[in-house]
Structure formats: structure tokens, C-alpha cells
């Protein structure tokens, strides 16, 4: 029973939402809009579950002084501080002068931007070490990457002789081989998603219901 009822709900809701694409009647749409609203409420509730899970996973590790407990403690303290700042700030928390806004501007923004900026350094290092023309496929990839990289910046467009041709070559690479490969990936992934969706709706895939 614990499994049958969720499976029946999944089947009914899944079929109903698929029906939206085929039944354009307004009464049907009222119900699909209602289901979507329930979904949004569940998505918002998932934040609370995430919060509980984060504490459940990390707090015992801090208390037991397991490996990297210090980082986990910093994370939990940041979580509590940001939560308090958010609640205290109320609706105006995102306005200048509030602690929540200060945390966002002077802690989150620099950290987030720094993490992303570090990529430039790791990409340079990875390109130097790993990007080798070991076989024909790798050589083709390498040549395409270099051509696109040169053509993407103004310096490439201003190179003598080849400067005019480079953007055309880049556009061909992006529009023809890239588009063909991406479409193949999209179609494959879409077919896989349809198959998985059908398996979930029909109750053949049950991993989302938890272990037996």
C-alpha cells in the first residue's frame, strides 16, 4: 500500500499533464495550472527539506570532530547567520543598509565571482597539459578549438590576411558540425527522457520511491 498509492498518484498526474498538450479546452487548463501551482509549492518546500538535510548531515560530523569539521562549522554558522539576517531584515532585507544585503554584496558576490574567475587559470593549465593531438580526432578538435578561440576575440579579426576569413570559418564550425552534433545529443537525450518518463508514469521505474 505504501508503494501502490504513490504509484497511482504518479500515473494519474503524469497522464493528466501529458494530456495538456493534446486537449486545449480551457477547463482542462484550469486544472493543469492548479497542478503547476501545487508543484511550485512543493518546490519551495524542498528548500526547507534541503536546510534540514544540510544540518542533519553536517552537524553530527562537527560534533564528532570528523575530517574537515572546521569547514562544516563555518558553513553551518554562515547558514545560521544568513537565515537570521534574512528574517530580521524582513521584506526590506535586500535593500542597502541591511545585514542580509551586506552579506550578499561583500561575502557572497566576491566568493562566487572568485570561484568562477579561478576557472581561467585552471583552463590555461589544463589546456597546456591535456590538449594533445595524439590522434586524428584529437587533432581535429584541437584545430577547431584554436580557430574558434582566435576568431572569438577582436585581435583575431584584425589579423592580416586571415582576419576576414576567420569569423566565417568559426561560424561554419559553430553552425554546421557543432549544430549537427548538438542536435544528435539533444534528440538522444530527449528520447531517453521520454523513455524514463514513461517508465516512471507506468511504475516500472521506482527508485524515486526509495529503497525496498
Amino acid at each position: 500500500m505504501k508503494r501502490t498509492i504513490p504509484l497511482i498518484i504518479t500515473l494519474l498526474v503524469g497522464l493528466f499533464m501529458i494530456g495538456e498538450f493534446f486537449i486545449p479546452h480551457y477547463r482542462y487548463r484550469i486544472w493543469t495550472a492548479e497542478f503547476l501551482e501545487w508543484g511550485l509549492i512543493l518546490a519551495a518546500a524542498a528548500f526547507v527539506l534541503g536546510l534540514v538535510n544540510l544540518v542533519q548531515v553536517n552537524l553530527p560530523k562537527v560534533l564528532r570532530r570528523e575530517e574537515d569539521w572546521g569547514y562544516k562549522l563555518v558553513m553551518l554558522l554562515s547558514l545560521v547567520l544568513t537565515l537570521i539576517a534574512g528574517f530580521l531584515g524582513g521584506d526590506a532585507r535586500s535593500e542597502a543598509g541591511h545585514l542580509y544585503h551586506w552579506i550578499y554584496d561583500f561575502v557572497f558576490v566576491p566568493l562566487n565571482a572568485t570561484m568562477f574567475a579561478l576557472l581561467a587559470f585552471y583552463i590555461a593549465s589544463a589546456a597546456f597539459r591535456a590538449f594533445r593531438a595524439r590522434n586524428l580526432e584529437a587533432a581535429l578538435l584541437l584545430t577547431a578549438a584554436i580557430l574558434v578561440m582566435v576568431a572569438r576575440v577582436p585581435a583575431g579579426e584584425n589579423l592580416p590576411v586571415i582576419g576576414d576569413i576567420l569569423p566565417r570559418i568559426m561560424n561554419w564550425i559553430m553552425d554546421v558540425p557543432n549544430t549537427a552534433a548538438r542536435r544528435a545529443i539533444f534528440i538522444g537525450a530527449a528520447l531517453g527522457a521520454v523513455a524514463t518518463g514513461l517508465r516512471v508514469i507506468l511504475g516500472l521505474e521506482r527508485s524515486h520511491l526509495g529503497a525496498d
Partner: protein, 282 residues
């Protein structure tokens, strides 16, 4: 010679990092400007905005964060200014929880500069969790998805929102997209079903993913990364920036020159050393 090549291949990565830092710092300290052409995809995006009649209203989904800000903020600023100067009204929302504190100051700054009034000429509906579900709900029923704007005003009392119930009521949806959820999800969830006109400004890393959507006509325009933002700025400000306005994309694009050339140099030298070493060893 062999030892030298082997040593070069095993170069400590801190030297590579130092080189990268110099490649970025030098153009920042000593800017050099190169001319550049505008891509057909960016021009299509610009044309889609140009075709909008004065008084129409567009929906902008601002889905970016501080990490993607350097690539997308220049586009977002230029696009808002472009829309306001054409007397197009703007409804902004976000599906990224980190976006509102970035979006609101930019929106207010540009609206003030262009003498636009909140609620009448532009509105920010705020952030909505739910990712694809939220996108589907935007396609289905906006007042139900966003019952109030970010300031708590009921949507029924906001003049700009009168008559706009679904995404398809807007002649254009512009998605400033840094990843998931973003352009791909808008196209998959609602573009086909409601036959929406969607334009996208995305990060450089996402652009190859979205080109098939543009080629298929599912996107009416596409601006990819910093180069796309700079090209859009060039179209919006052909005579150069107005007084007091900094064109962040056009400034930043020239910083990328040396960085790109440095990475290409590393790849070429790395391969040269690899082949020479292999030849000498065999």
C-alpha cells in the same frame, strides 16, 4: 634539448597561472582597442527589439548570478536601455535565487536615467523557485505564478500588468541566461507549445548549446558571452556611449585578447614539445 623539452612539459602550473594573471592584468592596465564585427545572431536579437512598436511590453527573465555577471551584465544594461529608449515597457522576473539583488539596482538605475516610472513602464516580479515548473507556470498563468511584484503590490494593481496573463501575451521574451534553468528550459518547456518569440543572451560556454535552437527558429536572436554583449553594445550605441555610461562589454572584450592568445600559445607550445620529445625518444 630533450631534457629542456621534458622540463617544459613538466612546467610547474604556478608559472602557467602567473602567465595567465599577466595576460589579464596587462590589457586592464594598458587598454588596447581593436575593432570587431557584429555576429548575425546578435544582429537578429537587436533587430527583434528594433521591430517592437513603442508602447509594447516585453518579458525579461534575468537568470544570472555574480559569477556570470561580467559576461551578462553588459548585455542586460544595454538591452534595458535599448528597450526604454524605444518606449517599450519591461516586465522582469527571475528564476535564479541569486539574481534579484543584482537585477534590481541595475533596473532602477537605467529606468531612472531613461525617466521611466515603476509600475507603469517597468516592474520586477521577483524570484520564483521551481525551475522548469516555474517556466511552465509562466507559460500558463503569470498572475497565479507571481501574485505580487517584488515590492508586495498585488499584480492586479500594477498598471503595466493589465492584460498580460500568459507568456504568449508578450511579443518578445528575452532570457538573460547563465545556465540552468535558462534558455534551454524555456525552449523545451514553453516555446514550442505557445509558439513564443524568445531571444537569449547566454554565457559563452552555453552558446554552442543554443545555436541549434537559433538555427531552428526557436530563438529569434542569440548573444553569446562577452563578445555577444560587446557586439550588442556596439549596435545600441553606434555613436559611442552616452555621457556617464560605461560600455562594460566593449571594455572587457579587449581584455580577452591576450588571455585567448596565451591559452592558444600554451596549446601550441605544449603540442610542439610533445611531438619533438616523442620523436627524439623514438
Amino acid at each position: 634539448m630533450l631534457r629542456l623539452l621534458q622540463r617544459f612539459q613538466a612546467l610547474d602550473r604556478r608559472w602557467v597561472f602567473l602567465g595567465m594573471a599577466i595576460s589579464i592584468l596587462v590589457p586592464l592596465l594598458y587598454p588596447v582597442s581593436f575593432s570587431f564585427k557584429v555576429d548575425e545572431r546578435v544582429r537578429s536579437l537587436y533587430d527583434a527589439v528594433e521591430e517592437l512598436p513603442a508602447g509594447s511590453t516585453v518579458l525579461v527573465s534575468a537568470d544570472f548570478d555574480p559569477a556570470s555577471r561580467p559576461e551578462l551584465e553588459p548585455f542586460f544594461r544595454a538591452n534595458l536601455d535599448h528597450l526604454f529608449r524605444k518606449d517599450v515597457k519591461v516586465v522582469v522576473l527571475s528564476l535564479w535565487e541569486y539574481a534579484p539583488p543584482l537585477v534590481v539596482p541595475i533596473l532602477d538605475e537605467i529606468a531612472t536615467r531613461d525617466h521611466k516610472e515603476y509600475g507603469k513602464d517597468y516592474v520586477f516580479l521577483g524570484y520564483k523557485p521551481g525551475k522548469e515548473l516555474a517556466i511552465k507556470a509562466i507559460g500558463e498563468n503569470i498572475p497565479k505564478t507571481f501574485p505580487t511584484d517584488s515590492r508586495g503590490t498585488p499584480i492586479g494593481q500594477i498598471p503595466i500588468m493589465q492584460g498580460f496573463k500568459q507568456a504568449r501575451d508578450f511579443p518578445l521574451l528575452i532570457n538573460v541566461s547563465a545556465g540552468f534553468p535558462g534558455t534551454r528550459e524555456y525552449v523545451l518547456q514553453i516555446q514550442g507549445q505557445y509558439d513564443l518569440r524568445i531571444a537569449s543572451a547566454c554565457t559563452a560556454v552555453s552558446a554552442p548549446d543554443y545555436i541549434p535552437f537559433y538555427k531552428a527558429g526557436q530563438l529569434v536572436g542569440l548573444s553569446g558571452g562577452m563578445p555577444g554583449s560587446a557586439q550588442y553594445e556596439k549596435l545600441v550605441y553606434p555613436e559611442g556611449p552616452p555621457a556617464g555610461v560605461r560600455l562594460l562589454g566593449m571594455q572587457a572584450i579587449n581584455v580577452l585578447n591576450l588571455g585567448h592568445l596565451y591559452i592558444i600559445g600554451l596549446i601550441v607550445l605544449g603540442n610542439l614539445a610533445f611531438f619533438l620529445t616523442r620523436r627524439v625518444e623514438t
